[in-house]
Symmetry: C2
């Protein structure tokens, strides 16, 4: 989140690497360092992931009802498996409960999460409740893996960079809420309930028309950098083409910072060989999901964003740890 200092973001990048460097072994098809792990047994593959929403870190209680928190928590976790083409089947709920939280409130949160999971075709099969200082909802999702595999590492020079939906709304919403400014209802709803992209994600993987895919949770530039790093390529993004909502354009005008780095968009970001673009567009129309070509994969290892012929200085926007 933008409210975190860049130093802290760099530090978390290091923490993330602790997890990404875990040793792997038998049955581990795809280990740490991806949106979800892919594990195999008896020839059957599963995707498994965990994500959490913690009060004071990811949200404040005044930003959403507990029912909305339940739905959001499931969608945030399920977004990781959607980006690998998985079908969420089972979920576990691990919930930290402060003393002041009433039982009916907790029950509303839980029921909303169960209902959201059902809408995705998944059952909440168990969980764990414990006391904590703040509300902390951790959701584990177990998903059936698609036959084909699309990871972060398949991008090749010449391919197109494509993103679903709009970017920056959630980041702008969080900035406004933290600054105690009025936040338009459209932005708030967008943050509260991340988009559902599992059907399109699955279709893209099944039809083999994407070479690399990730969900935009850290912000466009950061997540595109994850794809480039894993694939050993660079990328050029055309700033003017980055899809932004009317609310975003009205409030932020030409400022792209939050669309580039706000994070928590939970849109799909993927790379497509040019001749497969039409299929991608057909699938997206069928699922009623907007898709936008925002750039191109190039040789090298840099992610650059161009506004006309001018290159935006990402370092000045705070992306200094890309220097590594």
């Amino acid at each position: 989140m933008l409210s975190n200092s860049r130093r802290e973001q760099g530090e978390f990048e290091f923490l993330r690497q602790l997890i990404e460097r875990l040793p792997t072994g038998r049955g581990v098809v795809v280990g740490p360092g991806h949106d979800a792990a892919r594990v195999r047994t008896n020839g059957k593959d599963w995707l498994i992931t965990v994500d959490s929403q913690v009060e004071g870190v990811h949200f404040e209680r005044s930003w959403l009802s507990l029912a909305a928190l339940g739905r959001r928590s499931f969608r945030v976790a399920a977004s990781d498996v959607a980006a690998m083409g998985g079908s969420a089947r089972f979920a576990l709920l691990d919930c930290g409960v402060p003393e002041y939280l009433s039982l009916p409130a907790l029950r509303r949160m839980e029921l909303a999460l169960v209902e959201e999971a059902r809408a995705w075709g998944a059952y909440v099969v168990g969980g764990n409740l414990h006391r904590s200082l703040e509300v902390a909802v951790s959701v584990t999702v177990l998903a059936e893996a698609p036959r084909n595999r699309v990871h972060r590492s398949g991008a090749r020079p010449g391919e197109l960079v494509v993103v679903t939906g709009n970017l920056g709304d959630a980041g702008l919403c969080v900035c406004l809420l933290r600054a105690r400014q009025r936040c338009p209802r459209a932005l708030l709803r967008r943050w509260q309930l991340p988009p559902r992209r599992d059907r399109l994600g699955r279709a893209l993987v099944e039809r083999q028309c994407v070479s690399a895919m990730i969900d935009v949770s850290d912000g466009l530039v950061q997540d595109l950098h994850h794809i480039c790093e894993a694939s050993g390529v660079g990328a050029e993004v055309d700033a003017g083409s980055i899809p932004r909502s009317k609310a975003y354009q009205r409030l932020a005008a030409e400022d792209l910072t939050l669309a580039l780095s706000g994070g928590e968009d939970y849109e799909l970001l993927f790379t497509v060989p040019p001749k497969r673009l039409e299929t991608v567009q057909q699938l997206a129309r069928r699922e009623d999901v907007p898709v936008t070509v925002i750039g191109r994969i190039v040789r090298g290892n840099r992610v650059t964003v161009k506004q006309g012929s001018r290159e935006l200085e990402l370092e000045r926007l705070g992306f200094d740890h890309f220097a590594r």
Copy 2:
């Protein structure tokens, strides 16, 4: 934990029921309300569970090193699948990290957890790190299910009640630490590193010599009550036969409170048809795990503890919500 008020324990019993009453469906062989859920796809069953260790709730930082916390966190979560005869294969780590925690300390915790998982035959395949106010380690374990199924609900009148290891050490350790009393090294180590009972649990299920099983996490009486409630039976426990360590007997003398209700023992508690007892004892010897017959399943729905001919008044020990 005993430090929680009984009112709170009753409240958490209610919270637990929120989760136990979740709807189940296709592919859910065993849903909420067991140590772990059992899910099926393509004819292959998995056990899945999540458990967490939260600073200020389950432990204080001065009680153990971060490496010890990593090992303990895995064992606590894996104990749930051990009680269903499962073989832990994969794990996910979700970790709340306060700002003051150093990266080397975090790395030690993570590596110890990875190492512990490996010793059980499991890989840590991914995870998630986020800021939080306190250290919070949540571990999801995915385990291969045994062919046979043993749950909480199979106990029948006339069967023997059996427990592994000693009871009360962990509860006594936590009481001493909370009261800032000197805690003997043996008790501290016992709390820091719960016993490993997965091999015996698996053997008991595979050889079909137990009718119901659970791990003792809430305390003997509470967990035996869980078995009785699920099986529609009662139980009589002989207080004198409850296995206690030398350290426990030296410090608590004849006071059985913590052995009955201290919790966090992570021993196996199971019911055995009398003619299968010899097999159980053979298997336990092979795994070098002590087992003790502590009572018998009876008709009815009450759990009673008898000292000679006198019945202990469990209500006075705080088990008032058994009145339901």
